[in-house]
């Protein structure tokens, strides 16, 4: 399959890239890893007239802690996250997530920036970043701005990014001591989108109660879902079995899946309940809570 014809641009800087986006507006798309965009273009579900390839822009791929954040450059490949000692030892939720995205070959090209900017509720980083309370940094015509992840996903395949903006960095707050996280995904096979998946991040206080709780849901709604009521039910409480079961039920209630080949609505909602409970338990273990 060959995509519709387009004009190819390979800017050497963010400034050049945003200038191209300003010039071509809705007719342009940013090409990052291309592992979602190119399949859509081949199926002619997307047909940008101009493709702005940001892969040649230097200094957009990095993973480092600075100023209270884990800062990840938008062009960082999933495989680089997977192999990062920093991610593996300090960010177990993120490490879980990048190991189950698509397949190992796709992960060699796919980027974290693309995974978020694509705005697909079936992608895995959105729920994880919701649970981690991350923010993204975008650069556009008017300069740089920071967008909290909770207000980033505005609809199916739609984000808060303006047509002239490029996502350049993801910032995850460095978790306090006694933190833990986990991502649990059920997929029919490697490479398939999640039937459902749940991201959990929590931090325990000195008394063993949950000081911070983040819960994000993948592919059970038109956008990635932040399970706010489930989070609120745990906050300030000791995460005993009863509290976990209650939060898991609230997460299931927050999901809005639709029936498809992966299963009916009731099944997917119950899957969210089960995965949330398991992810909470694993996050708790990793936080040293039991």
């Amino acid at each position: 399959m060959i995509p519709a014809a387009f004009e190819y641009h390979a800017p050497g800087s963010i400034g050049e890239a945003t200038a191209l986006l300003v010039k071509f507006g809705d007719e342009a798309k940013v090409l990052s890893g291309g592992q979602s965009l190119i399949p859509l273009m081949k199926l002619r579900l997307a047909g940008p007239r101009h493709l702005v390839d940001i892969n040649g822009i230097p200094d957009l791929a990095y993973i480092r802690e600075a100023d209270g954040f884990l800062r990840i450059g938008a062009l960082t490949r999933e495989s680089e996250l997977e192999e990062s000692d920093l991610v593996r030892t300090r960010y177990p939720l993120l490490h879980d997530t990048c190991q189950v995205i698509a397949d190992p070959l796709v992960r060699n090209l796919a980027t974290i920036g693309g995974n978020l900017a694509h705005g697909d509720p079936a992608n895995d980083h959105p729920a994880t970043m919701l649970a981690l309370g991350a923010e993204v940094v975008a650069i556009g015509r008017k300069g740089e701005r920071r967008i909290p992840i909770a207000s980033f996903f505005t609809g199916p395949f739609a984000t808060a990014l303006g047509p002239d903006e490029i996502l350049v960095e993801v910032r995850v707050p460095i978790p306090p001591p006694r933190s833990g996280g986990a991502y649990l995904k059920l997929e029919r096979k490697v490479g398939d989108f999640a039937t459902a998946a749940v991201a959990v991040q929590l931090a325990l206080g000195a008394n063993g109660a949950c000081e911070q709780v983040g819960i994000g849901l993948t592919n059970v709604g038109l956008t990635p879902i932040k399970a706010g009521q489930a989070e609120a039910a745990l906050k300030g409480k000791r995460p005993d079995d009863k509290a976990i079961q209650r939060a898991a039920q609230l997460a299931a209630d927050a999901s809005q899946p639709s029936e498809d080949l992966r299963g009916p609505v009731e099944y997917k909602k119950d899957l969210v309940r089960v995965l949330t409970a398991r992810a909470l338990k694993r996050a708790l273990e990793r936080a040293g809570g039991r």
Binding site: M1, I2, P3, A4, A5, F6, E7, Y8, A10, L31, G34, Q35, I38, P39, M41, K42, L43, L51, D53, N55, S79, A102, D103, P104, L105, V106, N108, L109, V190, G191
Partner: protein, 154 residues
């Protein structure tokens, strides 16, 4: 668009439309037909080539993106008429039946063994999880990769 890239150590120049996929350049223009097109939808891995040493799906990358890069295809495995230990392994252990997925399997496992000289069975299965085989059930593919790993360790 005029591009230059290196394939199996040899420099190539080509004039390609931006919408041309890397696999089209490799197969249709350069006539290196060892790389296969399977599903054409980023699932099966039959089109796997190495891009600067990393296995990627050449049906999901534009040829223009490979300008200035080093590509390795299955044709680059054999050296001076001698099969690579992986190719030997797939023969010795019966790691193929129809052979359609084999070039992709070989390229993925070639990159994998460079970084994992003593893999467990689970490591191997995980590494090839982006390459689909509909014939073998994978058992003999895993054995073939183990054969090559042992031979490469010497």
């Amino acid at each position: 668009m005029q591009i230059t890239l290196s394939i199996n150590g040899e420099k190539h120049e080509a004039d390609v439309e931006p919408r041309f996929l890397l696999v089209h350049l490799i197969r249709d223009i350069l006539r290196l037909t060892g790389t296969h097109i399977g599903c054409d939808t980023t699932h099966c891995g039959a089109c796997t080539v190495l891009l600067d040493g990393r296995p990627v799906k050449s049906c999901t990358m534009f040829a223009v993106q490979a300008r200035g890069k080093e590509i390795m295809t299955v044709e680059g495995l054999e050296q001076n008429g001698k099969l690579h230990p992986l190719q030997e392994g797939f023969m010795a252990e019966h790691g193929l039946q129809c052979g359609y997925c084999t070039p992709g399997m070989l390229m993925t496992s070639h990159a994998f063994l460079k970084t994992h000289p003593t893999p467990t069975e689970e490591d191997i299965r995980r590494a090839i999880s982006g390459n689909l085989c509909r014939c073998t059930g994978y058992v003999n593919i895993v054995k073939a990769i183990q054969y090559a790993a042992a031979k490469l360790r010497g």
